[in-house]
Symmetry: C2
Subunit: 144 residues, 2 copies
């Protein structure tokens, strides 16, 4: 976190990207027949895109039908009682074979077990982030 | 996790609720003008509902206009290389004053700083969960 973050807890775009680059696990939100859906994904930042693998037919079919997605990563530091959340809004598209080759170079890790042969990239239209002060009064009660 | 979970990593409904009750931080997905949105929330399980506070006008206005939501919690155990994710699909509604009184009894904690006077409940229509084996080959490489 650099010093450009405001006191109100709004992260600068640079801070948001630093958080995105430091993580490899987030949640993808998309819309199926008007209803929201959400799924955990492993991802990697490649330049100004987020890339993930999938074989999930429902997810993939939907992304092709309606590419609008939202993506979130967060981290909670219990010791400092601070939480950070970064949200990306944009469009997802399936990568072509030559793009896949390029992505292999950046080392997207196959976390989630099964083969996930289709690579999908999220092109962010908006990246926002917030830092939260976590107030948990029962903590001071427990200490006292 | 009880023994009813299948080898394929699908959690039983009971396991899903156990995960939901053990956490207090998740992500809410909702739809604004056809596009997905996602936000971190603190929540508490009250019976068969999930309850959270908000003052976010956009989120609240949208939930009233279109109550369909998806909600996700997850946990990653780096030591065991296992991840668990639970997704709730359902509808959200603003609690009335007498319902609020009841919720105060269950102790929803005001994590996120500012006052959040409006209580919203998610009534689940579907609760699903999966356990993932996290395969991270660079780990064994680092060990080796």
């Amino acid at each position: 976190m650099d010093e450009t973050s405001t006191e109100q807890g709004v992260l600068s775009t640079e801070d948001c990207w630093a958080v995105l680059r430091s993580r490899e696990f987030g949640r993808l939100a998309y819309v199926i027949e008007g209803a929201p859906s959400i799924a955990p994904i492993n991802y990697v930042v490649d330049g100004d895109q987020l890339v993930f693998r999938t074989t999930d037919g429902t997810k993939l079919h939907n992304i092709i039908a309606d590419p609008r997605v939202a993506f979130e990563v967060d981290e909670v530091d219990d010791a400092d009682e601070v939480g950070v959340s970064v949200v990306v809004r944009g469009e997802a598209h399936v990568l072509s074979a030559d793009e896949e080759y390029r992505i292999e170079q950046v080392g997207l890790r196959a976390w989630l077990g099964h083969d996930r042969p289709v690579l999908v990239a999220i092109r962010p239209a908006e990246v926002t982030g917030r830092r939260y002060q976590l107030r948990r009064p029962w903590r001071s009660m427990m200490r006292g």
